[in-house]
């Protein structure tokens, strides 16, 4: 069986506008969007640009819009779609070439929330953590930085300075970790208008997350944390 893939192309050296190009691709029950893209690149058109690496939904590189919804190419199967499928680069990001988005804004937002353990105690001993302490942050801990939630988030689309779902989820993940003492360093970023308060709980981020982290819940739990921080700050001299 064959399906038609309509792919939005953009060559930064020649084009002023993206345009779409169609390819006929052989499809069976196990053909993923990434498989189809690799087929096109190897058999039909070596100029097609896209990112990919692991092919098993862990590297977060092959993010594309499939019929307008952000998806991981390797985890999305053409058997679930009609005869014509539209592939576009991730929404809300600039496009470098074809299906390759410029995700520098996202990487910068990640850095801003310090998504790593901050603990000034330079202890030689390993940090002990109980299953209960692990359970507190575990549901927010498996982000693969694929950026799908940014493409699902209209608030990031409207305001690229909004830190966005993944960065705020990671901030919440480390704030909830019993080994971490960096909350005070992260809160100023979260308390700003581009922090947790940029979110209006559209909730689509949680729908598209390939790791089912519920970033919308994490961001809004961050609002409770930020509101608490707001009240505490009023009583501080």
């Amino acid at each position: 069986m064959e399906k038609t893939l309509s792919i939005v192309r953009y060559n930064p050296e020649l084009d002023s506008q993206p345009h779409s190009q169609s390819y006929q691709v052989p499809v069976d029950n196990s053909t993923s969007v990434l498989d189809a893209l690799l087929y096109i690149q190897e058999q039909l058109d070596p100029t097609l640009a896209f990112r990919w690496s692991c092919r098993m939904a862990i590297c977060g590189s092959c993010s594309v819009m499939v019929n307008g919804i952000p998806k991981l190419g390797c985890k999305t199967f053409l058997r679930d779609y009609g005869d014509e499928v539209l592939l576009e680069p991730l929404a809300h990001f600039a496009t470098e070439k074809d299906l390759v988005p410029d995700i520098n804004v996202f990487l910068q937002h990640l850095q801003q929330v310090k998504p790593y353990l901050i603990n000034p105690e330079q202890s030689e001993q390993p940090h002990k953590q109980s299953p209960q302490q692990l359970a507190k942050y575990r549901k927010f801990a498996n982000c693969i930085n694929c950026g799908l939630c940014y493409s699902a988030c209209p608030q990031f689309g409207l305001n690229p300075e909004f830190l966005g779902p993944a960065a705020l989820t990671l901030a919440q993940r480390y704030n909830l970790d019993s080994r971490d003492q960096g909350k005070a360093e992260r809160m100023p970023e979260l308390n700003g208008k581009n922090g947790v308060w940029g979110c209006t709980f559209v909730g689509f981020c949680s729908d598209v997350c390939p790791k089912h982290l519920d970033p919308a819940a994490a961001v809004n739990q961050g609002k409770v944390a930020s509101a608490t921080d707001f009240v505490i700050s009023m009583f501080k001299p």
Partner: protein
């Protein structure tokens, strides 16, 4: 250091597209979000009715009867029916979001408890006003 002049036509430049003001029409999920936000419009109409009632109560019986007649007009009833439906849609979304923002108990339990509260309030109001 001197700045190098580059030929802009040969410099690869990423393509930026701007989000249209009608982004929310593009997907069912976004449309439902906008609908949720718009539930406050019929709410405002009902709040206006309540304030009109309060005003007429503070004036005279004549004013009060005028308010009653206002509330009985077809278009007012239709808008208040819309407000009621909107309040239920708002309640559904609000009750489902609450356990995600404050996970205090199993989500299903929290959602059921909140609906029970809404039903309880309606019942009490009904008994107070309807069975007097």
């Amino acid at each position: 250091m001197t700045e190098q002049k580059v030929n802009s036509s040969s410099t690869p430049k990423p393509y930026h597209s701007e989000l249209s003001a009608f982004w929310w029409l593009k997907h069912r999920y976004y449309l439902l979000y906008m609908l949720r936000e718009a539930t406050v419009l019929p709410l405002l109409f009902f709040l206006g009715c309540l304030m009109y009632g309060l005003y007429s109560l503070s004036q005279s019986e004549q004013h009060w009867l005028g308010f009653v007649a206002f509330m009985q007009q077809g278009w007012v009833i239709a808008l208040n029916l819309l407000a009621f439906v909107a309040s239920l849609f708002h309640a559904k979304t609000f009750f489902e979001l609450f356990p995600r923002v404050m996970p205090l108990a199993p989500a299903a339990l929290m959602i059921a408890g909140q609906w029970l509260a809404t039903l309880g309030v309606a019942t009490v109001l009904f008994l107070m006003l309807g069975a007097g």
